[in-house]
């Protein structure tokens, strides 16, 4: 949240001109703490609401924000299509690998083998990656960051907001209650976006601005 605040400040966007559309879930509680035009939408539906806002008033900076439950599980459909259409919005995914607010069930992004309240024997499925989904759907700006590096995260969000076209930032943010064992994450920071997105597919431990296509013309 601090990172989002810093990014908006750095981009010199006034609170009245920034619309942040929240999913329903842990991350959505930010609505009560961030001074912008905040909208608490529906679970899984922050992206389509944002798309409508941006189409109606292109002068607004529009951010759709949600957990991996909302954006990759319930509403993955919208992620794919917004990326395909290159809708000029920024999607922030707070990935804690689990449904936190409903007491810790497995989501589509839960690592394979992880024991959760809905997978006592361990999650049998390979996780779905928001980054991979966005890349293969045609997203122009795709990044992954780690929440404990606030400075870098803020910079990445700043660049995502400034990017004209669809941008996605996955923020790895393990839950201190339900996924304690995942809190310590190790990743490799990428200093320069790769040219061919296919090199990124299946790599969950790379952080930074991973891919950046040429922007939309004004």
């Amino acid at each position: 949240m601090t990172a989002v605040k810093n990014a908006l400040f750095k981009a010199k966007i006034e609170p009245k001109d920034a619309v942040v559309v929240y999913d329903i879930g842990c991350s959505a509680n930010a609505i009560n703490f961030l001074n912008v035009c905040g909208v608490a939408a529906l679970h899984g539906r922050s992206i389509p609401f944002s798309v409508g806002v941006k189409m109606a008033n292109p002068n607004l900076t529009v951010i759709a924000q949600g957990g991996e439950g909302g954006v990759v599980t319930e509403g993955a459909n919208h992620l794919i299509h917004a990326a395909q259409r290159n809708d000029d919005i920024t999607v922030l995914i707070n990935n804690n690998f689990v449904f936190g607010l409903t007491t810790g069930q497995a989501s589509a992004a839960t690592p394979k083998g992880l024991k959760t309240r809905s997978t006592p024997e361990g999650n049998p499925f390979e996780p779905l990656s928001a980054v991979d989904l966005a890349l293969v759907s045609g997203a122009g700006f795709v990044a992954r960051t780690y929440v404990f590096n606030v400075e870098r995260t803020a910079d990445i969000i700043y660049q995502a907001i400034c990017y004209k076209g669809f941008s996605l930032v996955e923020i790895i943010q393990p839950c201190v209650v339900w996924t304690k064992e995942l809190v310590k994450q190790e990743g490799i920071w990428v200093e320069k976006p790769v040219g061919n997105y296919k090199e990124l597919l299946g790599k969950n431990n790379v952080w930074g601005i991973l891919y950046k296509k040429q922007q939309l013309k004004n």
Partner: protein, 531 residues
């Protein structure tokens, strides 16, 4: 087939007749039993009929299928049924080298059999193909040759033309779009679905920003986003798509975002009979969504109301910051109707909306007497919009007292709503109001014209046309309570409007129902009401 029916209707309008064109087609792109029924009369208010006076069928199979619909033949040698191949219509198209013009040749044939001059048909064809010289020439030639062949059937003497009037011709969807455009609608999210597809087509050619979403969930949410950001916004769908929109509908109620939802009913449940009509989604749209929130349901009954309510829906949504549902059906949406041009002039285009500006300590959900709070748009000030229960500022809030006050605030909004119905007095009362000893017919939505057609022959009935089923009109309750006998006519299996009326009036009502995908036909309604 649809366009041939349209051309014929419009040519008949040029002759001064009122027309009704009712199409039936199976749920596939081409082929099958695809037919249109065209009814014309010097009088207004027309109902589809079971028995026809003239049949032109393409193909032996279709000919056999519809032969039984021809009204009794009185004179020896009189012929009312024709097959296109047999009378040489298909041959004309072959000779002209384009199978598609067989329809036009058929229209020429029909015009001749009915005893009309060729000229009006020609004028109509010219209008339809203007700017496409080659195709126009071909069609004019086909119509002319078909007209010549028309001698075969013998002139039947419908030739008495009711004098030229300016009669215009619209489908329900076309009239609705006129209203939408006059309302200054700025955003429409529409996922294709019968019977609202032509609304998507027409709006795509207009200045309205049109979004074809990935599904109806996204469509509803995007429309809410656009409305929130300051555009007059709408969605259009049928029952299946509306099912997906319901969660968003509730958000509109809670977050107080204006939204207009066109729901074109078709035969359910589930995929049902996708290209057939229904009035079975009334309960659904009135009750859709978890929790309780105010909403308005409008059900236009003719093209005039499609225009008027198509516009008014946006005004009401904005005034009360609530969802407004425009409930039509396949029969009204895709059939073509006619009306005097002067009756269809709706008022000027609505001006753009402005949010509240210059507000200090702005509160999106401020408690007010009317229940409606001042609305601002993003870009004007920073404020919160919330699908959670919230306080006046929009912060999530679970306190009991705040909750009670918020429910009351939202609940107050529609309390003052009046009107919502159109009374038609039995002839005997000479316009002086209702004679409550005479039976009271009640209809809503697309049954209006059909019931008015019935009243032409049987004027000793009162008739209440409900164009706003929800909130159910208060004044109508009083009228119904006084009526000796109430007969509710509607196109569903259980009698949903009848249930609503019984609930509000504590009166038992008679139900005249039809639920087979077709509108009420003239003969059927007479049979059911007079029996």
């Amino acid at each position: 087939m649809m366009s041939a029916g349209e051309t014929l209707s419009k040519a008949l309008n040029r002759l001064g007749f009122y027309t009704l064109m009712y199409p039936e087609y199976p749920s596939r792109i081409r082929g099958g039993d695809n037919h249109v029924l065209v009814v014309f009369s010097k009088e207004k208010h027309l109902a589809p009929v079971e028995k026809i006076d003239l049949l032109l069928a393409f193909g032996k199979e279709n000919y056999e299928r519809h032969l039984g619909e021809i009204r009794e033949i009185r004179e020896i040698g009189e012929r009312k049924g024709f097959e296109a191949g047999e009378i040489g219509i298909t041959k004309i198209a072959e000779e002209l080298g384009n199978p598609l013009v067989a329809n036009t040749a058929g229209l020429g044939f029909i015009f001749k059999v009915l005893g009309f001059e060729h000229q009006m048909l020609e004028e109509q064809i010219k209008e339809e193909f203007s700017g496409k010289e080659e195709i126009l020439k071909l069609n004019l030639e086909a119509a002319r040759r078909g007209y010549e062949v028309g001698e075969v059937g013998g002139v039947r003497g419908f030739g008495e033309v009711g004098g030229r009037r300016e009669v215009v011709n619209y489908s329900g969807n076309e009239a609705m779009v006129e209203g939408i455009l006059k309302a200054g609608c700025g955003f429409a999210a529409i996922y294709p679905m019968t019977p609202i597809n032509s609304i998507l087509t027409m709006l795509s050619r207009s200045k309205v920003t049109v979004f074809r979403p990935e599904d109806e969930i996204a469509g509803m949410l995007a429309a809410l986003g656009a409305s929130y950001a300051g555009k007059r916004a709408m969605v259009a769908t049928s029952g299946g798509g509306f099912s997906l929109m319901v969660e968003g509908l509730g958000m509109a109620g809670m977050a107080e975002i204006p939204i207009v939802c066109i729901v074109g009913q078709r035969t359910g449940p589930s995929t049902g009979m996708a290209t057939f009509s229904s009035q079975a989604d009334l309960n659904f749209v009135i009750n859709a969504g978890q929790g309780e929130f105010p909403r308005i349901v409008l059900a236009p009954g003719d093209i005039g109301e499609c225009q008027r309510l198509g516009k008014e829906a946006f005004y009401l949504a904005e005034k009360y910051q609530d969802p407004v549902i425009l409930l039509t059906d396949k029969y009204l949406a895709e059939s073509r109707f006619s009306e005097d041009e002067r009756e269809l002039r709706i008022s000027e285009e609505q001006e753009g909306q402005e949010g509240q500006v210059g507000l200090e300590n702005y509160e999106r959900y401020r408690f007010t007497e009317s229940g409606v709070s001042p609305r601002a748009f993003p870009g004007q000030t920073a404020f919160l919009t919330n699908s959670y229960e919230h306080d006046e500022r929009g912060f999530s809030c679970e306190e009991a007292e705040n909750r009670r006050k918020m429910m009351e605030k939202r609940g107050r909004k529609l309390v003052g709503l009046s009107g919502g119905f159109e009374p038609h007095f039995a002839k005997a009362s000479r316009g002086k109001g209702f004679d409550f000893n005479l039976p009271m017919l009640v209809g809503w939505g697309s049954t209006k014209e059909i019931i008015l057609d019935f009243l032409k022959g049987y004027p000793d009935y009162n008739f209440l046309h409900i164009w706003r089923p929800w909130p159910f009109p208060k004044e109508a309750v009083e009228i119904l309570k006084k009526s000796k006998k109430i007969v509710v006519i509607e196109g569903n299996y259980s009698g949903q409007m009848a249930d609503i009326i019984e609930r509000f009036t504590f009166r038992k009502v008679k139900r005249v129902l039809r639920d087979d995908g077709r509108p009420f036909f003239k003969e059927e309604l007479e049979d059911k009401l007079l029996r």
